[in-house]
Symmetry: C2
Subunit: 358 residues, 2 copies
């Protein structure tokens, strides 16, 4: 048998990062049930949609999901509901940001030439076929030894995102990434957009294991070493790195740890309807709406009024005679506000946390 030459896996391994627990989609998004588990845009959750868009047996091998330990059951249930039968799981015993998660994927990979597609679990992509075509086109950059980031064409002056400047073409559609600019002010953002050279950094990365490893070794070797130690120290449960060791890992975004410093970064201009669903307004803009412009789930209704967003994980919702509102409910709390005030959700979450029920 030893004379058989192993066939390199040509397919791409999706590495789905499900460790986030943001508060911008409060009150539905909570620590126990973060945003990726919610049906924010369409009838299935963002994580389910992530499974669905990476289920292509020619392009993708079965996904690896890196999630918080407390969310293992929700990830398994979502994969089953989405029809993704084969899924590998690594559960993080503590949240250490995305660099640690990418390092876990690198150190768990089968061989150096395996292609890993790092992708968030809580984004929306309107055009999954376009997404897959772009991933396929990005292979050329990965084959050339680059970490390829997916650069979204800006559609508005956005100060909350990272931007990447695209340079000359290197390999097919993949261009050199010249520099990154994180969360610019509005004037800078406007100038970058008008230049035509800047794209939004979508947090999706394609590279071989060897290239990812080279990036860590060049700019954040401590993270690779600490994650390796946590994996080596783990007990019988193969899915969970050792907690004490993992808590020693520096918590930093992969963008900061590697992308902004590494000299082998490519960017592929992308146009597949990406959104980070970073607010209820974004969820509303990407959700299906009825003839009156309302986005309502089954079981709830807008009896009159236009442009409202209704979402609940608890009671059913009825809106009557209102315009442009978001009405959000759980079994514990209901929030009503104009969609135009969606950024102020944090205030409501802070009030709720500071004022427990009597």
């Amino acid at each position: 048998m030893s004379d058989l030459i192993p066939v390199p896996e040509a397919r791409i391994r999706p590495v789905i990062l499900s460790g986030g627990a943001g508060t911008r989609l409060w009150p539905l998004s909570t620590t126990d049930r973060p945003k990726q588990f919610l049906p924010l845009v369409g009838p299935t959750s963002l994580l389910a949609q992530t499974f669905e868009r990476t289920r292509d047996p020619v392009l993708f091998s079965p996904p690896l999901v890196i999630c918080g330990e407390r969310h293992l059951d929700q990830v398994r249930a979502t994969a089953a509901d989405a029809g993704t039968d084969e899924v590998r799981l690594i559960a993080e015993p503590a949240a250490r940001n995305t660099a640690a998660a990418v390092a876990l994927a690198v150190l768990s990979a089968r061989h150096d030439e395996e292609l890993l597609l790092i992708l968030p679990s809580d984004h929306h992509i309107a055009d999954p076929a376009g997404f897959r075509a772009t991933v396929d086109a990005a292979r050329a950059g990965a084959a050339a030894g680059l970490i390829v980031t997916f650069g979204m064409r800006p559609t508005r002056v956005e100060t909350g995102f990272g931007y990447v400047e695209s340079g000359p073409a290197i390999a097919g559609l993949v261009r050199r990434a010249v520099r990154f600019v994180e969360k610019p002010d509005a004037a800078t953002a406007r100038a970058m957009i008008e230049s035509g050279d800047y794209l939004w950094n979508g947090g999706i990365f394609l590279a071989t294991v060897a290239t990812f490893r080279a990036g860590f070794e060049a700019h954040s070797p401590d993270i690779l070493a600490a994650v390796g130690a946590a994996l080596a120290a783990r007990a019988g449960d193969q899915m969970v790195p050792d907690r004490a060791a993992f808590e020693q890992v520096r918590a930093v975004a992969f963008d900061h740890a590697v992308m902004e410093k590494f000299d082998r970064i490519g960017v592929i201009p992308s146009d597949f309807g990406w959104s980070d669903v970073g607010s209820w307004l974004a969820a509303f803009e990407h959700a299906a709406r009825d003839a009156e412009g309302n986005s309502v789930e089954a079981g709830s209704t807008v009896l009159s009024g236009t442009g409202n967003l209704l979402r609940s994980t608890g009671p059913r919702l009825i809106a009557l005679g209102v315009e442009g509102l978001m009405l959000l409910a759980t079994d514990e709390v209901v929030l009503v506000a104009p969609l135009s005030e969606a950024q102020r959700v944090r205030e409501a979450a802070a009030w709720f946390a500071a004022n427990p029920a009597s």
Copy 2:
């Protein structure tokens, strides 16, 4: 012992009618928990406030409550919470409107000269001391053999109420009631109000047992007879008339059965801040409001915005950046609408009943 002359009870017996189950205060008001059990105006329920305003040991004897059988526990708990230790209860095995309830009180009374004050359990009275003073003044009419109704000075053109025309003074402040007009059109209502002679019929009645009985015997003897039969047929449980017999009682309002026809009706002009709390707008108008004009219960908040009403029996509520809305919640359903659309609550209730959760 037979030579002792019984001392007539000079005090008035409050007869609190707690049989209603309206839908105008949906979704908080339900068949299981009607309006009178809700803290719609202030921190205690309307029934609790009714107990409180009739707790005056000089003016009132302990109350008799006539309620639906399913609400016995809620009535007992409310009385206990309100500090009303002594309360008599009659539980109706079926809802037969107010004439049947008044007949139950008449047939359960101790003697013919006992004064009964019939009063709804689900109204709000802003000035309880004024209420008691008016009741005391109405005694003169009851002593003169009248059923005295309490006539509220109209404060708006209201087509949903009954009006009573007041005539010449008969006994102290009590005037002759000339005629009743039920739910007039707007032009008629306006003309009546401008005449100065018409008052709102508040559904509060004071008379002796003998006078109430005479009214029934003159105009609705069937109701008195049927209620008497249901009381005679009851089993060991003294509080509940026989169900089959009680279901034979004609279901009609006491106003229709007796008041509109009887020739011994008085009316006392009243000004004690009465409201039937017939809509969420009425609840809002009578409720305490904060400096921003919001009416909010403990546990909920308006982070910004004015003139909102927030009420919940389930999740806590947060409003942010909205004006003039009502936000109403139970564990099952949330309704948001402008307060100006409060009359459309029935549409929402109908939709909810017709569209069960999937």
